[in-house]
Amino acid sequence: MSEHSKSSPLKMYFGIWITLLLCTYITYKAAFVELGQYNAAVALGIATLKATLVALFFMHVWHASEKLTKLVVIVALFFLLLLLGLSMSDYATRLWS
């Protein structure tokens, strides 16, 4: 938080903002193109990109913050994946025989 970067971060903020808007536009358009199973991949991929940008630059995970913040983020995502992954493991294998 005690970031003392000399140059003003405004340029970066606006850059990220434009990127995010562009991404939104791309997801929106891509959804109407037939990509088969890749539709979902594209949509989620872009969403993840956007979320990462927000977290890293708007929430300052990248720059100013110390390791602990990163750790908290990683731990939260890890446990989220555990929840999703392990419960899916049941549903994905129910029909095996």
Binding site: F79, L82, L83, S87, S89, T93, W96
Partner: protein, 551 residues
């Protein structure tokens, strides 16, 4: 609530108890020690309510026929017993009372990081508790503490939404406690208090907080789903609408399995402190005990579906969860062995806290080892949903966690109240609890393997189960007496107990370096730590104890 304010303070020194008087000085306090006492009073209340229900259940089961209460009533009894004991007694017990009191003292801070949030957390607990009591008095709930869908969402006509909301609110209280601990442990340690110098009690609470923070929200949202489905007739878990009732179980146990470690980890922390103090030794394998707490917290999230082996999950998934359940048992094993090894070449004293710690060791080991039976897929099929399960978890939760809690209460009572409890009575109570406990719950293992299903109020079709049930009921009354005793002599000692010195056990740990009871801001001057944890080689044995033995 104003009860503790009536303690006369012969000691003139100003401390957190005598600094201010009056109801509001308690209800609006932000002092973590006063909040701990508020919690103490409230969880004790809920413990006795839950225990009262347990006694009624045991009385009903005295005879095979359902003669004392109706089926409905019995179903509500075990539901409210389970919910109250889990959510309103055991989960807050050690963290919110002893943890609240001791975490800042042990790390050398003046208070928790967010004192107001701490107070808010108590109020949330009370709001949840009042809702629970209201729900109970106006009809109760009859789903079992597990709320399984679709019974809870579409069939029962009891007050699911209200009970759910009560647990939701209490859950936030638990989250906030965990949040406060994590931030305090990270940010508020006294100079020199490095991570490797933290008492293992703190490590245990740190691990507990991780679970509270990452597990509780999942049950919160699950309760939201159940309430929404029930109140608004949405289709989420209802198979009639294409939903999957097993999904509810996944979400429920994703929290509720880790929650059992919320209950046991703090007790492990307490026992570690007690064993070190009363064998006058540094704990054997400090870093292994510390990291096994974290390992339990993390692995604890990987095993939830071991409650669902016959629920209709994929057998391959069952395989994975069984394997992982064994993985989580390893760090528990490490702890048990390290505690045992700590006794080696110690200089062991048998004061009441140590007796409770011994009780904990034995009963937790037995409860844990029977957990291994349950995690074995082949055996689980036979014993799941029988009294074997009931026995397993009471061994850990009552034999383990409650023993640990009582041990901790005795150990830190001089610090909390500034008075000594009567040692003789305390040893007697420990013995009674131990005997009563085993009498109550050991027969249930046998019952369970013989096939007695749980949540049965009437077993007149199988009268062969009666003998063991009678033993169990007899044990429960003994146990009840065992629990009443400390309640009585703790109250007694607040007025008549001998004043305690600052460090009556000659224990290591920052909390003993301040006055008993501590001043409002814990330390008169900020402590600077230059020694390792458990530096018992520098401390003498407890002074010839001037503890009066009540005759």
């Amino acid at each position: 609530m104003s009860m503790p304010t009536t303690i006369p303070q012969p000691v003139e020194r100003e401390n957190y108890l005598n600094k201010e008087y009056g109801v509001w000085s308690w209800l609006l306090t932000t002092d973590h020690k006063r909040i701990a006492l508020l919690y103490l009073v409230s969880i004790t209340f809920f413990f006795f309510v839950g225990g009262f229900f347990a006694l009624l259940m045991r009385l009903e089961l005295l005879t095979p026929a359902g003669d004392l209460v109706q089926a409905d009533t019995y179903n509500k009894l075990f539901t409210m017993h389970g919910m109250i004991m889990v959510f309103f007694f055991l989960i807050p017990s050690i963290p919110a009372v002893l943890g609240n009191f001791l975490v800042p003292l042990m790390v050398g801070a003046r208070d928790l990081a967010f004192p107001r949030i701490n107070l808010l957390s108590w109020y949330l607990y009370i709001i949840g508790g009042v809702m629970m009591m209201h729900c109970m008095l106006t009809g109760g709930v009859d789903t079992g503490w597990t709320f399984y869908a679709p019974f809870s969402t579409n069939f029962t006509n009891t007050k699911i939404v209200e009970a759910g909301l009560a647990i939701f609110v209490a859950g936030f209280s638990s989250i906030l406690t965990g949040l406060n601990f994590v931030v305090t442990i990270h940010r508020m340690r006294a100079p020199g208090m490095t991570w490797s110098r933290l008492p293992l009690f703190i490590w245990a609470h740190y691990a507990t907080s991780i679970i509270q923070l990452l597990g509780t929200p999942v049950i919160a949202v699950t309760i939201v789903l159940v309430a929404a489905e029930r109140a608004l007739h949405l289709g989420i878990f209802d198979p009639k609408l294409g939903g999957d009732p097993v999904l509810f179980q996944h979400l429920f146990w994703f929290y509720s399995h880790p929650a059992v470690y919320i209950m046991i980890l703090p007790a492990m922390g307490v026992v570690t402190e007690i064993i070190a103090c009363f064998s006058r030794k540094r704990i054997f394998g400090y870093s292994f005990v510390a990291f096994s707490s974290i390992a339990i917290a993390v692995f604890g999230f990987l095993v939830w579906a071991h409650h669902m082996f016959v629920a209709g999950i994929s057998i391959y998934s069952a395989l994975v969860f069984s394997f992982l359940s064994y993985a989580v048992a390893v760090p528990s094993a490490i702890k048990v062995f390290n505690w045992t090894a700590t006794l080696y070449k110690g200089s062991i004293h048998y004061d009441a806290p140590m007796l409770y710690a011994f009780g904990f060791l034995g009963l937790f080991t037995m409860g844990g080892l029977t957990g291994l039976f349950l995690a074995a897929l082949g055996i689980n099929v036979h014993v799941t949903d029988t009294y074997f399960i009931v026995a397993h978890f009471h061994y850990i939760m009552v034999g383990g966690a409650v023993m640990g809690y009582l041990g901790g209460m005795h150990f830190w009572w001089p610090k909390i109240s500034g008075r000594l409890y009567p040692e003789g009575w305390a040893r007697l109570a420990a013995l009674i609890v131990f005997i009563g406990f085993n009498l109550t719950f050991f027969p249930q293992f046998l019952l369970g393997y013989m096939g007695m299903p749980r949540r049965y109020y009437d077993y007149s079709h199988m009268p062969e189960f009666q003998v063991l049930n009678v033993l169990s009921t007899a044990g429960a009354t003994v146990l009840g007496v065992g629990y009443l005793l400390p309640m009585v002599y703790f109250l007694w000692s607040m007025r008549y107990g001998k004043p305690a010195s600052d460090n009556p056990w000659n224990a290591a740990g920052l909390e003993w370096k301040t006055a008993s009871p501590p001043p409002t801001f814990n330390f008169d001057e900020e402590p600077v730590v230059t020694w390792e944890a458990y530096n018992y080689e520098e401390l003498d044995a407890p002074h010839k104890r001037e503890v009066p033995v009540a005759r």
